[in-house]
């Protein structure tokens, strides 16, 4: 079974090359290929999750076997946490590719679009499955370079500016990451993550390791856009084509940012209480400040972008609380609950935020504006968009029976159980403001008929494939609630939580293979 691992990277990469070569000769080739490849990847990801076998799969690139238990080649490691991320990445990629089939007619150069999308997905899948620190950096760069190009895809003044800011700040992040990878390599003499974990575990906690940890938090924090490293996100996410915004907000900041932070700090470094506090603190900061920034926005996609910062805060405080409890040797059950809440919110956020950006794209597709003040009365004109966006808004605001309710519930209960009352209260408070700002979105976009112009009266709902993607995501917003049912949770969520909870088991298992 370990031969499926490289396909996550090879397939989209191959598709990218094929599309850029053949796409210009064969009409519709890019759409079909991209859709097909993403669907295959989707099936592969679910195949691993539902195979019932939650063991870790290792693939040695080039067949380089370890010598004396010391790995010398690059490992690709597929474990339940990676599998969990792969499901999110490839589902969202598939749906945004479908959505883009009609949507991309707003832009020119659809071959480039699909090429870049495929490269981005290849990079993301690579980040998630790789077991090598430098390899991770390479895949990260592949992802973000594709995203730079995609953010600038409209090539208008605004898009180029956003992309430029993104590149400069991304460059800073890259420097920080590369620098600390170098330091770690110098300190441990290896780049293999399990191997590094083994060496760090034996040596006592040193300043140099802490230094690297901080650099990595800043670097990947920039990719994950957590406060105060979020400066690029509102511009980039709102300027990109909407199907890409859905990918950026729904997937990229998670897979290229949060996933790496969680993976490295749980499984590679030794958990320390100080670092846990630091991570939770910046998570709280993002959560609170992000939502305040969001509620004042009138640009729909900017509003959504700021909410991404805030919602990432929820994920981080969930997992961060788990870190603090584990580092304190507290109650494991509470830690597991908190981490589960965080990861559950992560997958939920991918779905509802992806959907919200697709909704914003649908409105932009018909009205050509992102300004809430220029919308209105779309409730009757665009029923599917309206219904799905209500679903997503309810989900992000934590209204039952949608998925966001459950993940927030788990996070809040975990916070109270672990006696982090202030975090629980803040989570509730932010949730209320989130609700308020999404009621604003609903009100100004879909009701409020007076601000409607004559042009709006002739608006129709969007083409079928755009509707289809939105409906699938809306159904997922409901269906993901079921993940909490213990039988399903043990298949999807709990194995991923166990990987993080297991901390050192990661390297112990891998090195003794």
């Amino acid at each position: 079974m370990n031969h499926i691992v490289p396909f996550y990277i090879v397939l989209p990469l191959a598709a990218a090359f094929l599309i850029s070569i053949l796409g210009r000769f064969i009409k519709g080739f890019s759409k079909v290929t991209a859709g097909f490849i993403f669907f295959t990847l989707l099936c592969l990801s679910f195949f691993y999750i539902f195979s019932g076998d939650h063991s870790t799969i290792v693939y040695n690139i080039g067949g380089w076997e370890p010598v004396n238990n010391i790995p010398i080649g690059i490992y690709l490691i597929l474990d339940p946490f990676s599998g969990f991320m792969l499901c999110i990445i490839n589902t969202m990629a598939f749906l945004s590719a479908l959505y883009a089939v009609s949507y991309i007619s707003l832009y020119t150069g659809e071959n480039y679009f699909y090429t870049l999308l495929c490269i981005m997905v290849a990079g993301l899948n690579g980040v998630v499955v790789t077991g090598d620190l430098f390899n991770l950096y390479v895949f990260l760069e592949i992802t973000v370079i594709a995203s730079y190009a995609l953010v600038a895809f409209g090539t208008e003044k605004e898009e180029l500016e956003a992309s430029f800011k993104y590149q400069v700040l991304g460059g800073i992040a890259t420097t920080l990451i590369l620098f600390s990878i170098g330091m770690i390599y110098w300190y441990t003499k290896t780049l293999n993550i399990p191997d590094i974990a083994g060496i760090l575990n034996k040596s006592p906690d040193e300043k140099i390791v802490q230094f690297c940890q901080l650099m990595l938090i800043a670097g990947f924090g920039l990719k994950a856009a957590i406060m105060p490293f979020h400066g690029w996100l509102p511009d980039a996410h709102s300027s990109a084509p909407s199907s890409i915004s859905a990918m950026l907000s729904g997937v990229v900041i998670k897979a290229a940012g949060l996933y790496v932070i969680f993976r490295l700090f749980f499984n590679m470094f030794q958990l320390t209480y100080e670092i846990s506090i630091l991570i939770t603190a910046i998570g709280t900061l993002s959560m609170v400040v992000g939502v305040f920034l969001a509620i004042g926005q009138w640009d729909l996609k900017r509003l959504l972008a700021y909410h991404s910062i805030s919602q990432m805060g929820y994920v981080i405080i969930g997992v961060g609380m788990g870190m603090m409890i584990l580092a304190n040797n507290g109650n494991k059950a509470f830690a597991s609950l908190a981490i589960m809440g965080g990861l559950f919110h992560l997958i939920n956020h991918a779905v509802f935020k992806g959907l919200l950006f697709l909704n914003a794209g649908a409105i932009e597709y018909r009205l050509g504006t992102r300004d809430l003040n220029k919308m209105g009365g779309l409730f009757e004109k665009m029923p599917v968009t309206s219904a799905t966006s209500l679903t997503a808004s309810m989900a992000i605001s934590g209204i039952p029976p949608f998925n966001g309710f459950f993940s927030k519930l788990v996070i809040i209960i975990a916070a109270v159980l672990a006696k982090y009352y202030i975090l629980a209260a803040l989570a509730v408070f932010v949730s209320i403001i989130t609700l308020a700002s999404f009621m604003k979105f609903q009100r100004y976009a879909f009701f409020n008929r007076k601000s409607i112009k004559k042009a709006v009266n002739e608006v129709k709902d969007v083409p079928f494939l755009m509707k289809f993607s939105m409906i699938v995501l809306a159904v997922l917003c409901l269906a993901l609630s079921l993940i909490l049912i213990p039988g399903i949770r043990d298949t999807i969520l709990q194995p991923a939580v166990d990987v993080l909870m297991g901390k050192n088991d990661y390297y112990i298992n891998l090195l003794n293979m």
Partner: protein, 624 residues
């Protein structure tokens, strides 16, 4: 499995499933949807009756032990969920469920004819049925998680039952949902704390004191939830806005009846069963209760829009229930619960009356209306009964329950403690509130039904489907009032509270007879005495001074109050939303938002500076 529990799942499942199925049927088949949902609610009502009157089963049962939901023996997928799906069935819950089904049935009958082009809702019947099913589940829920799940969902249906057709109505819908959603969020906090303290999540197993700060926080968090749902001060501000812009049937259904039932029912649960309330909290609840009564009724006095006026009364009456429940004595609780029952009856009736008037005239302001009593006699008589009920005039039901609350307050005064020593204040304010209610309903009745007709339009009585529910409700008001003491209250609340003993002599039926007798006597005196020699006097204009040359519009009633030196300022501030918790917090949040936005000017060097600052801060934190 005994017969009673096997009815419960029908009441729960049937409306929910049909509600979802009806989404699939296009709105063009409105009549079909309406009739099928009436049938469904009739079935639910029938089984609710059976459940209520055959007292076989009381206690806890799991949702998944019910007939249609029972799991296979070794179902591992769902077996762990069952820990969170306990139901608690007792006589109060069954009563509330019966009422919920009753109102759903009436409202659905009413809505089959009632419609308002501008405010017509999509999937109206679906949402009514979903509300029905979710409310029943909320009432029966024993597990806090099941409870908050359904309770939160009701906020969503409330939002879907109002339509944002212009600026104001969409703002009202938004405000409603934000306030309701906020309270639900706060409740989650309370539930989590209870879970933390006790390790339990089934309400029937929990009994905790309110001794330390953390327990009080949990209690207050849950109390906020019930206050917001029921619409008590200071979380009431969504109700007047909602009732003004929502279709009358939605207003009659949710804010007037179901939300009151659920909110007060939950308040009963937390105050009497889950928590042991201490003296300080009791005092706070009583203060909030009387404030609700007085503030809302003062606002109601000066309203010009009759639906908004009713909305303020829907708030004011909650105060009585809260005072009753806050007393904590058997009589007080019985009074509070009985008032909840009565209020649901007459206030739903009043909103339906308002709907009738609106349907026939298309007008919403009191000063555009008048003289409808000739054209709509059935509606008029029903409205009169409701108005007398809500104002606490014997022999109608509003009097009976208010009287019980007054008795409860006097009784409460015998206990030691600060809250008890102040009993005379609670009593005085409650009575004043009742008097002001009467005053404002004089305005309502005379503004709509009496006086001159503004123009010579031809108005007919509404369709039977619209006056029938109103008449049914009016009859309930009368019957519940006349037979309150001996029959209705012991039957409804005896099983919950045990023997209810009144202080003083009170027999509602005897009073009803006396009143009937005095009315007949009065008529006799009138007929015998001076059939032709009646006295001429100026028309009654709400107690205002009748000046020469001034015609008093109904809307000018109580203008003297609104323009009295102290009050004028307060009313002006209320008009500018100075006291609205929603607008206050909105202002604060937006201020903070602008503050943060100002820092985000998008200049690249600033962004890079933040990254650096963050990094340095982390170093300082960790390495020093």
């Amino acid at each position: 499995m005994n017969s009673v529990t096997s009815h419960i799942e029908i009441i729960i499942l049937l409306p929910l499933i049909t509600g979802i199925l009806l989404f699939l049927i296009p709105d063009k088949l409105k009549l079909f949807k309406g009739i099928s949902s009436i049938l469904i609610s009739a079935v639910a009502l029938f089984f609710a009756f059976q459940t209520y009157f055959t007292e076989v089963f009381n206690g806890q049962i799991n949702l998944f032990e019910l007939r249609f939901l029972s799991l296979p023996d070794n179902d591992s997928l769902l077996s762990a969920v069952t820990a969170f799906t306990m139901l608690n069935i007792d006589s109060l819950a069954r009563l509330i469920v019966l009422l919920i089904c009753f109102f759903s049935f009436l409202i659905l009958i009413y809505s089959i004819v009632y419609s308002n082009k501008e405010r017509a809702l999509k999937n109206y019947c679906s949402f009514i049925l979903l509300t029905l099913g979710a409310s029943v589940l909320t009432v029966f829920a024993d597990s806090f998680l099941l409870f908050i799940f359904c309770w939160g969902f009701l906020g969503l249906t409330l939002y879907k039952l109002i339509k944002g057709y212009d600026e104001e109505s969409s703002a009202a819908a938004k405000k409603t949902f934000i306030i309701i959603g906020a309270s639900d969020g706060i409740m989650i906090l309370g539930i989590a704390i209870i879970w933390k303290i006790t390790g339990l999540y089934n309400m029937s197993e929990i009994s905790i004191g309110t001794s330390d700060a953390i327990r009080i926080t949990a209690f207050l968090a849950l109390l906020i939830g019930s206050f917001t749902k029921a619409g008590a001060f200071p979380f009431h501000t969504w109700i007047p806005d909602y009732t003004k812009y929502a279709p009358a049937s939605s207003s009659a259904y949710l804010p007037a009846s179901l939300d009151k039932l659920l909110g007060i029912y939950f308040m009963f649960r937390i105050c009497s069963e889950i928590f042991v309330v201490n003296q300080g909290l009791k005092l706070a609840i009583l203060i909030l209760g009387v404030l609700t009564i007085i503030i809302a009724v003062m606002m109601a006095l000066v309203q010009h829009n009759y639906k908004r006026l009713l909305g303020y009364h829907a708030v004011s009456q909650v105060g009585y229930m809260i005072v009753g429940l806050g007393l904590g004595t058997v009589l007080g609780i019985a009074g509070g619960l009985f008032h909840m029952f009565n209020h649901a009856m007459y206030k739903a009736g009043l909103f339906l009356v308002a709907g009738n008037v609106e349907k026939n005239t298309g007008k919403e302001e009191l000063d555009e209306l008048g003289g409808l009593s000739k054209f709509m006699p059935v509606t008029y008589i029903a409205a009169l009964i409701f108005a007398l009920s809500i104002s606490g005039i014997p022999p109608f039901n509003g009097f009976a329950s208010k009287w019980m609350i007054y008795q409860g307050i006097i009784d409460f005064g015998k206990q030691p403690g600060l809250a008890s020593n102040l009993w005379i204040i609670w009593l005085a304010l409650a009575v004043i509130g009742s008097a002001l209610t009467l005053a404002s309903f004089i305005k309502f009745i005379s503004g709509i039904f009496l006086g001159r007709i503004p123009d010579n339009t031809k108005i007919k009585e509404v369709n039977p489907a619209m006056w029938l529910p109103v008449i049914v409700l009016a009859l309930v008001c009368l019957v519940a009032g006349v037979f309150a003491g001996k029959l209705v209250v012991p039957q409804l609340f005896g099983p919950v509270l045990g023997e209810i003993s009144y202080t003083g002599i009170w027999d509602s039926s005897a009073i009803a007879l006396l009143i009937l007798f005095s009315v007949i006597l009065g008529i006799l005196v009138y007929l015998i005495g001076n059939l032709n020699k009646f006295r001429k006097d100026d028309s009654f204009i709400g107690g205002e001074v009748n000046r020469d040359q001034t015609g008093y519009e109904v809307t000018d009633f109580y203008k003297t109050i609104a323009e009295a030196p102290g009050f004028k300022h307060l009313y002006n501030m209320a008009e500018k939303k100075w006291f609205d918790i929603y607008d206050l917090s909105k202002g604060v949040v937006l201020k903070i938002s602008h503050l943060f936005s100002a820092a985000h000017n998008g200049i690249l060097s600033n962004l890079a500076f933040w990254v650096l600052a963050g990094l340095i801060f982390m170093f300082i934190f960790l390495l020093l």
